[in-house]
Symmetry: C2
Subunit: 483 residues, 2 copies
Amino acid sequence: MPSDRTNQATALLIELPGDGRPMHARLTGAIRAAIAQGRLGPGHLLPSSRALATELGCSRWVVNEAYVQLTAEGRLETRQGSGTRVAAYPAVRTASPPAASADPEPPASHVDLRPGAPDVNGFPAAAWLRSLHHVLTDPAWSPPVFPPAAGAPRLQQTVAAYLRRARGLPVDGDDVIITCGTSHGMAAVAQVLAPAAPGVAVEDPGWFRLREVAAAAGLRTEPVTVDEHGIDVRAISRAGVTAVICAPAHQFPTGALLSPERRRALLAWASRNAATIVEDDYDAEFRYDGRPVGALAGLSRDHVVYLGSVSKTLHPGLRLGWLVPPPALRGALLAAVETSGAGPGIPEQLAFAHFVESGAYDRHLRQMRKTYRQRRDTLLHALHEHHLAVRPDAAPGIAAGLHLTLPLPSRSDEHAVVSRLAGLGVTAIPLSRYTIRPRPPALVLGFGRLPPSRAGWVAGRIAMALQSRNGTQQAERIDDRLV
Amino acid sequence: MPSDRTNQATALLIELPGDGRPMHARLTGAIRAAIAQGRLGPGHLLPSSRALATELGCSRWVVNEAYVQLTAEGRLETRQGSGTRVAAYPAVRTASPPAASADPEPPASHVDLRPGAPDVNGFPAAAWLRSLHHVLTDPAWSPPVFPPAAGAPRLQQTVAAYLRRARGLPVDGDDVIITCGTSHGMAAVAQVLAPAAPGVAVEDPGWFRLREVAAAAGLRTEPVTVDEHGIDVRAISRAGVTAVICAPAHQFPTGALLSPERRRALLAWASRNAATIVEDDYDAEFRYDGRPVGALAGLSRDHVVYLGSVSKTLHPGLRLGWLVPPPALRGALLAAVETSGAGPGIPEQLAFAHFVESGAYDRHLRQMRKTYRQRRDTLLHALHEHHLAVRPDAAPGIAAGLHLTLPLPSRSDEHAVVSRLAGLGVTAIPLSRYTIRPRPPALVLGFGRLPPSRAGWVAGRIAMALQSRNGTQQAERIDDRLV
């Protein structure tokens, strides 16, 4: 049994003992040890996550987790265009290497501001279990023997009713295809579009996952700038593409809401060019200021593939979502979902249908909207107290969602700030992680999992990281006092 | 809202009113009505399921369900090479058309012998709920915020332990990739193989789903004959392929167990040609006679992609499976699973881990093995009583699994027999549904959902269908008495 592996092909000698811990934890420990022992010195360039994953025969997720963790610890630095390197001043430099079995998780005092996930501690486990219990014991909910490719008919109908009511989409159950989430839906769309539409416009900055999925299917991605009114529709016209992926409700990470004028222009462009708009209805459920905004597909379904999921509203781990195709693409998209061989479990599909029909979903959304709004307000207030003001007019994105973008002084090195912050016990993501072309420096701060009681502390750490010219070493001393 | 649809482009005018029923039921009703009203006469050729699905903007599954249902009712006949037609003597010819809202399900007295599914009434819902409850309430089982592409580490380890113990595979947790099932795993394999291996050998007869998934990724499929010792390895060598998809433990639908000689020859072929064997470990858990047989991947993992799932052991609707790649393909296959954007929900992954670790899975398998063995024995006995003997030496496949293949007299028209059987209240599938090239006529009879109390009745119906030269009309009279 291969319980030990020594990788000899890579310049980076990594030993991953099979000690029962998950692979990402072992990889983190191995790189940490190599840095501590001086085998990897300051400035050493690490392999790309793709190259290292291939070498180790593991997922890029494993490598990315290790890199993110070690960046959070201040041991690594990631700079766009120049890869991931050992930090110039690794936060922890001890004479003896940390034991390989050292805790791979951030210390309890560490605050994780990575965006993209809800507060999973708020997951309504009891209500969810009630729904599962209901559908698994009531014969009226008995699932079909062979799972239909489009999903359980009852869930198709429930999602259609929800989309009519909450997102203004004129659909019925047959129009809805149940998926494992937004990426699964995007993979089906990419497979259908790839032969005919080699080019697809993507938001810059934007969520890299969807453009990666599109690229994996062979689509050429063309970056298009996003400003405070959303994606630049004129630039799409100039990009020579016949498809676009965008998030009109709450663009990630800028938070921009696509303006009414641009919505009309985008639909007109799609209609003129028989093009396809992939609408990622991101964070639509969590809008705090102003009126709710309907989905783009609510204005016209003819050229819009609508993608939704419960990843931000319930838990990314449920892997449950939906896709509403334009009528002309329904057959092709359903065939693509069918040959993907994948879909959520039927009991969970029916449980979600029951969860929505029983009112538990709406209750949960109301509760979480209140929680997140308070977290946003507390963080904004704390940032303001530390003269890190994010005014609503300067950052319209904060009207919704689970994160905000904090502009940095124009000459800041956002990676240095992130590295110092990591040393100070705060994981934040530099805006450049989501950009294709350069943008002014900024931090993306996810507040979905930030308890209000920690907001003041976090804002203080950010102010400290921005003021310090040698924040890392200072942070070490401060952390010593906290531990 | 598009609640009504009239399809004007197809020669087959089908109206699908949006009456709240699932689409397959509405399509079934619409075709049934068209036959009853004489708009579709005896012998009328229906569109292929692909063409009709595209026309209607629905899944092929929807059309196939409708065709299977109407074939079961004796209204349609499917013949290989000549498509699906309205039966020469539709079983039900009433003066007034059946109401559109007529029950689309088979009558209660109808027996469904379609193979490929376990008895979902045996699904251990209470034990499964206990496992779900456990993992959703015990903080020690708290899922990761972002679902890892390879699956929940705890389930990877549990599956590895199960495969070591039950299937003889020398693996640890990192070697296992969790999937939505066999087809999802096959889709990842096909995506990885397609650029380099345009040809893949497939079993003839064989389960069409895996070859469809391979073909959808652009792989050319080459049929290779299966005999009583399993797939013909010499024919694979001659086929000019560098990959093969096969089910060594219990070939579908012949039930053949790949012989030890052929196992060695297959591995030697793969080693010589740097080829890939996709091992579909079908029905391995339900072996009644003789010793359990280990997986091919247990002999050598170097060229074997192992695919497993709970579809036959628990419920196809759970959509939970796993893939064990050869070490050299691990990175590529994990990347393919990752960009598929799909995977089972983390709570269900952890619940299955708990279900196995608690011993509930083994208990369930023991219980179902006993149940299925009894069903097999009862059906064999009943067939024998009606002089439809299936001797173990003539049909080695019945040593395992959930179905058997009943050879028909050499001049029988298996489609006519299936059609007559449908009129007699029994859905069986002709062997030709799974063949690529002609084979002697046979029926595939799934006994997994056949209560022993109905076995004698079923055997009698089969004998009747084989004796009758005009079974359909006779059946109608008999059915009238039964209703």
